[in-house]
């Protein structure tokens, strides 16, 4: 541990999920490791063969399951191991983020990036930036609140019982 590395504790530590392709970004994150670069520990990586495999539903599900921020990262255009997966992903996510924005998800919580196997530094930068930004924004309440809410007729009026239900 270096002398300058001071670990600041924050009131809120966001949960981040990163959906990455195995050939570029996963390898880039590996490079950050072998280069012993440092970045916030908030991110959990889910590996895919290719960004082309990443279904928008995964992003939605991640938010629903408590992610405060989501990162999707793959090969730079033209570098796709599978030729065109990232091109398809690019369109898919260009559309999907507009949809999320339209239903009111703050896009500052959703980051897309190209990180190549050689860009350990960029991985660190992207993860750090998103962590800090989301930490600043606070928890993603929208989906949590949504998950806790019922249709009015199923809602139990009693606050205590409601709490008992929802704690489960």
């Amino acid at each position: 541990m270096t002398a300058t590395a001071t670990t600041t504790k924050h009131d809120f530590e966001p949960k981040l999920v990163a959906f990455v392709c195995t050939w570029c970004t996963y390898a880039g994150a590996d490079l950050a490791g072998t280069s012993r670069m440092q970045y916030p520990s908030n991110v959990r990586v889910v590996k895919f063969p290719c960004t082309g495999r990443i279904d928008p539903v995964f992003i939605l599900r991640a938010f629903q399951k408590g992610a405060d921020g989501v990162l999707v990262s793959g090969c730079h255009p033209g570098d796709c191991h599978y030729m065109a997966g990232n091109f398809h992903a690019r369109r898919r996510f260009a559309a999907f983020r507009q949809l999320l924005d339209f239903v009111g998800v703050d896009l500052k919580r959703l980051q897309f990036s190209w990180v190549s196997a050689a860009e350990g530094g960029k991985w660190v930068e992207v993860v750090t930036e998103l962590t800090e930004r989301v930490r600043e924004m606070g928890p993603m309440r929208e989906f949590i609140d949504l998950d806790a809410s019922e249709h009015w007729s199923a809602e139990l009026a009693d606050a205590e019982l409601k709490a008992a239900y929802h704690s489960l």
Partner: protein, 665 residues
């Protein structure tokens, strides 16, 4: 309930320095479905692997998570160990707690918490892993080579020399392609035919090569290792088996005035002809459009004079079906006819340069034929209009190439060098002549290329003018060439006897039609696309199909030959095994739920998705569904993300696995 084993590696101190490995193992023990968890100093060591194998047996594990370094490092190691322990290797996953955790985080609590989360995710994943078996595809060790130019010839010879059968298909009556038309070649100025014709003869004589000239690929079916190719052998009207190549028919044919396209229409040929004397095979073909017999039913001279009785007017197109395991596409290029806008092409013509209108404005290939010893002028440089020797020749580079406003933004790569060669050939033949070259840049990256280009200026006294030609017009028997010299900043006007245009290299006409038959992709110009510009430059996205030569993009002869040999090497690699083995990370279709919208097919870069008919017992068509050919599937999973009903699933990365990982958040 699953019985997963979790093995947490210290990696010496690489992990344990920051991650509390014991705590990780303990947390793992508390996870649902984890039957065993432990930590060890070096999991990848022999004792570490032995530990894993022992635990699999002892705890009857049905899945393994090794929490250690990156899977890119040791996934193979641990999957092998898992296999040796009697489990399917794909039931082992690695939790990357080194590169993604201990090495990048300093806070022990945070790193430990993260490591536990990572292990949790991978435990949930491995619970849903399926046993996968490697996929093997049988390989037919015959290769199809499409195109008999230098690229096709080289690839065919290399593959055939390696002991595999080659089927070579050439559209023209003879193999040889463009290289057979050239006079001399840069940067050595050796005679093209002298180096080309022996190779052509080698092809004809090679026991492993089946040559189909005057033939075209009609249909292609199948996939890597197992293509079926239907070849149309166009009616030659001459029986190949009987013809001795004596040439009497050609000599006696009354039709003698048909422009020979091999000579860029400068020379004439009869209606029954070989394109050039060294043609392989040396069997003539009847040009049915111009033959009197086919036009009017009269004449029949060639049949009468043919000793062996080889001339057969009734001959029909024949179809041959070949089974091949690999395909090399070497269909070469066309020189762009700039005189007018070609049909269906987005590329605009160059009417302003008078090509096609002013007879003494010719293109580079025509100059090659003028300079060729076997050409229509016997190697003398003579003007097409009056047969005079031109004393002032203007060469114009980049005609069409790098002209975005004309619709071509690429560099044709070979023109700088062949124009330099032309100035030399000209000077060698017309000692008192003067060559001028209008050029934008001189691009000479190649062994001996820049030296060669400099020689054209320094020794052969070609005058290079940096600038473009703005206008050309006929004035008496001269052609006035107006242009700018941007180096000096003046307008230049030259009265030339002959103008040679270095026209753009384009893909073969109809290249896209062949691509569609083959299921390979092509770019906006119809050049064929390689799978990866840097790392897979000779492979197509479609497995088992390889590219050689200018069909992929402009190339000179050395590059073409190199790529042809590279393509041959790829074919030989494929043919080195009887079965093509590959990782089973491929997509599979759930035929019950597939509704056959074929969105998957639209996004598949590999052409791995086929349409499959589902019929009932009576044979009635029930529905058409997608089928993923495992031999062709690249395993990217784009199809699954695209499929609305998730009826196609990528093994190893199923929704169930991914969603379970997300669930751990």
């Amino acid at each position: 309930m699953s019985r997963i084993g979790v093995f947490v590696c210290h990696c010496g101190e690489n992990i344990s320095r920051t991650v509390d490995v014991e705590k990780v193992a303990e947390a793992a023990r508390g996870l649902l479905g984890v039957a065993h968890a432990c930590d060890y100093k070096y999991m990848c060591s022999d004792p570490g692997q032995a530990l894993l194998k022992k635990a699999v047996a002892e705890h009857r594990l049905d899945g393994v998570v090794v929490a250690a370094c990156s899977p890119r490092m040791h996934e193979k190691t641990f999957r092998k160990a898992t296999e040796q322990a009697g489990l399917n290797p794909f039931l082992c996953e690695m939790a990357n707690i080194r590169e993604h955790c201990s090495w990048v985080h300093e806070d022990r609590d945070e790193a430990t918490a993260k490591a536990i989360d990572i292990v949790h995710m991978l435990v949930e994943r491995v619970k849903r892993n399926r046993k996968l078996q490697p996929i093997s595809v049988p390989v037919t060790k015959t290769s199809l080579v499409i195109g008999g130019g230098i690229a096709g010839i080289q690839a065919a010879l290399d593959i055939a020399d390696a002991g595999h059968r080659v089927v070579l298909v050439e559209r023209e009556p003879s193999i040889g392609g463009h290289m057979a038309q050239l006079s001399e070649t840069f940067p050595t100025l050796d005679c093209s035919q002298c180096i080309m014709t022996p190779k052509m003869v080698d092809v004809a004589n090679h026991p492993n090569i089946t040559l189909h000239t005057y033939s075209e690929v009609e249909e292609v079916d199948g996939y890597i290792g197992n293509f079926q190719v239907k070849i149309r052998k166009k009616a030659r009207s001459v029986d190949m088996a009987r013809c001795t190549g004596c040439g009497v028919c050609m000599a006696k044919c009354p039709q003698k005035k048909i422009p020979n396209s091999f000579d860029r229409d400068l020379g004439m040929r009869p209606a029954i002809y070989v394109p050039f004397p060294q043609a392989v095979p040396n069997v003539p073909v009847i040009d049915r459009v111009n033959c009197t017999w086919f036009k009017s039913g009269k004449c029949g001279v060639c049949q009468k004079v043919c000793g062996p009785g080889a001339v057969d007017y009734a001959q029909q197109d024949e179809f041959v079906v070949e089974q091949v395991g690999a395909i090399v596409v070497a269909t070469g290029f066309n020189l762009y006819d700039i005189s007018e806008k070609p049909k269906g092409s987005p590329i605009k013509g160059y009417g302003e340069f008078g090509h096609g209108k002013i007879p003494d404005v010719i293109d580079g290939m025509t100059f090659e034929r003028l300079a060729s010893a076997s050409g229509p002028t016997g190697g003398k440089i003579l003007r097409p209009s009056d047969g005079r020797e031109p004393k002032q020749v203007v060469f114009v580079q980049c005609v069409g190439s790098r002209a975005r406003e004309k619709g071509i933004s690429y560099c044709s790569k070979i023109c700088c060098m062949y124009t330099a060669k032309h100035t030399m050939l000209y000077k060698h033949k017309v000692h008192d002549g003067q060559a001028y070259v209008f050029f934008m840049d001189a691009r000479t990256p190649g062994k001996g290329y820049d030296e060669f280009w400099r020689r054209s200026i320094e020794q052969e006294e070609a005058v290079y003018i940096r600038g473009m030609v703005s206008r050309l017009y006929q004035k008496g028997d001269k052609i006035v060439v107006m242009g700018s010299d941007i180096a000096v900043g003046i307008q230049v006007e030259i009265e030339a006897d002959l103008v040679v245009l270095a026209t753009a290299v384009q893909p073969r006409q109809g290249a896209e039609l062949l691509a569609q038959k083959l299921g390979i992709s092509y770019d906006q110009y119809n050049f064929y696309s390689e799978a990866h510009a840097k790392l897979r430059p000779v492979e197509c996205a479609t497995a088992g199909i390889y590219l050689a030569g200018a069909c992929q993009g402009p190339k000179d002869i050395p590059d073409t030959v190199s790529q042809a040999s590279a393509a041959a090497a790829k074919v030989m690699t494929l043919f080195a095994k009887d079965q093509l083995e590959r990782e089973p990370i491929v997509a599979k279709v759930n035929e019950r739920f597939c509704v056959g919208c074929f969105a998957c097919k639209k996004v598949c870069a590999y052409g791995a998705i086929e349409e499959k008919e589902i019929r009932d017992r009576q044979g009635n068509l029930v529905k058409v569904v997608a089928y993923v050919n495992p031999g062709v599937c690249g395993g990217c999973g784009t199809c699954q993300a695209t499929c609305p009903s998730k009826s196609v699933e990528l093994d190893g990365y199923t929704d169930e696995q991914i969603l379970a990982m997300i669930e751990t958040l």
